[in-house]
Symmetry: C2
């Protein structure tokens, strides 16, 4: 519906596997000093010297993780990189390389793959990661993207999920919930379009939410920001499955409890408006909606002064003894036990 | 057809995404000193000290790369690891870690995934690689496996595709063609089974060929063998797409030509018998059949004496000036230009 109808359609089979790989990878640049050899051999060769290496991987499946009815292929390529880079950022590491594997059914012409790879190339430049390998093949159905992201960090910089202490403060970057509501808007427009393909959607009021869904950014800047503030988080995770679910991961692995304050949740004004329009409780979406790709972390109480007025960060709660459990403290000052209701790709 | 019909069927959705990942990954062990942190955080953390890091990735799609009608899931899991480990071996590096991502449609019960992961676990133990991460999700259709393999090597050990010199000898490990004929036997049995599901196939005569197709091994031993012989190949590649196609890769990247000798091709006696039974020219299969996962490499002429009588290696040709082209020298001493007719997943 948003996607351009490209008049040119070149069959992928015409190029052959090696021709296709040459065609798709010709725009990839090597910029990282740690990349000794990129695409073109049995494997890439990397040199991290005295740095530690951080590795994460994700699989994105059409119809499960994305819907091409409203996700332009260029945005999808960009987002696929962002999702993986975000995991590296969540270790407080610097993203350096990615591998990209793609499988497509024969309904995709070469021009569609070009769009996808244009998005991947754009994201690789934006985040300064080298594309060092991958695989391109056919699928029985739909589009499948598998990305592995690699990063580097000094050992003492790396932040795990299991380091939160019971008196730590809980901090989140940016705002939350918008990506989920962006998806609701797009789903609604898709239904409108199915009923009337000639309708011209006016999505101006939803620009921010849709952008959060279609073109999220990984918080690569947070590492630098925290470094400048001389803060090292005690634990960290990225918010892909929803705040609630990620808090439970941090608590479980760190063996602590948590009080999360409803009135502290950083949400965008347009997010509240659209929640009202959809008649959905904004707090429920803010804590359960996923795909924001913000970072959630804990810091020692002593670091409060360093972070309190910083517009990049919001203190949303504090950790407690494990036995106290994990609760949302509402505006009415009642405590509600948090449940992980994160976005679960397997039960959709 | 070969697969056991497991009477128990547990729906994957019952476990939820995190429950499923916990269940599937509980048997993975960490044995490599370079693995600081495996599964359980946003990313794994590795430490290669002064070694270089080698990375390769592959995507395996049901109906394109494998057929579950004759590929038992346990074998498939094993083979998926082998295919990736083989790429690391082809760099003359030591495989150390893998990430494993799997997408399945809801036709797969938990017991099927358990079989697949049993094969993955078995291969990880056999090749001493740590499973350090991955992703498990649902697919719209069929089974999808994405594996990234990581290895380590000293810089001076690493062998690329582009180092062959015009006077080098061309060497292959093991024997070739058998995996392709194993596939032909299995395809034939599948057709027999479709006509008569009660037929009991007698596959004794084809054991070796079927094993080469269903349970190939990566030549992790070659690195050690060559080290003991004090030979460093000048170029190397693994034979996944067929000898002919891989020779052309080495020649193209090294800017040399090649004479390959038909009478030197290492083939198994049962392979010849089955080629005759299928009325297929054995040389054509030996040079074009893929999936042998043997290693193909070039060595300096001075190393001839070190390798000539070694049962692990066969000298099958020699490199030439680039302008001389790439030829098969037949038993009748005629030269035929080689064409890359390698197995191409995109034109199937």
């Amino acid at each position: 519906m948003i996607e351009d109808k490209n008049p040119q359609r070149t069959s992928i089979a015409q190029l052959g596997e090696f021709g296709l790989i040459d065609h798709l990878t010709k725009n990839f640049e090597i910029n990282q000093p740690s990349t000794l050899k990129g695409i073109g051999d049995d494997a890439a060769v990397l040199d991290f010297k005295d740095k530690k290496v951080v590795v994460s991987t994700d699989l994105l499946i059409e119809g499960v993780h994305f819907d091409l009815a409203y996700m332009p292929l260029k945005h999808l390529g960009y987002k696929a990189v962002v999702v993986n880079v975000s995991d590296i950022c969540a270790m407080n590491a610097k993203p350096t390389q990615i591998t990209v594997s793609v499988a497509v059914s024969n309904r995709f012409p070469l021009e569609a793959l070009d769009e996808l790879f244009a998005g991947i190339t754009h994201a690789a430049r934006e985040y300064n990661v080298d594309v060092i390998g991958g695989d391109t093949t056919s699928s029985q159905k739909g589009l499948i993207i598998s990305i592995t992201a690699i990063g580097e960090a000094d050992e003492e910089e790396i932040v795990y999920r299991n380091g939160a202490k019971q008196t730590d403060l809980l901090v989140v970057t940016g705002d939350i919930g918008a990506a989920y509501m962006g998806l609701q808007v797009l789903e609604r427009e898709k239904q409108v379009f199915q009923v009337n393909p000639n309708s011209q959607p006016d999505l101006d009021a939803y620009t921010y939410l849709i952008e959060r869904q279609l073109k999220p950014e990984a918080r690569k800047d947070v590492r630098t920001l925290l470094h400048a503030l001389e803060i090292k988080p005690t634990s960290m995770i990225d918010i892909s499955d929803g705040l609630s679910s990620e808090i439970m991961h941090l608590c479980k692995q760190s063996k602590v409890g948590c009080n999360l304050y409803e009135d502290k949740l950083p949400i965008d004004p347009t997010f509240i408006n659209v929640c009202e329009e959809f008649n959905i409780d904004s707090t429920t979406v803010a804590i359960n909606g996923g795909e924001d790709y913000e970072l959630l972390f804990t810091i020692a109480m002593e670091d409060f002064e360093k972070i309190k007025a910083n517009p990049n960060f919001t203190i949303i709660g504090h950790m407690t003894q494990e036995s106290e459990g994990i609760h949302l403290v509402t505006r009415a000052n009642t405590k509600i036990a948090l449940k992980a209701r994160g976005w679960d790709a397997l039960t959709q």
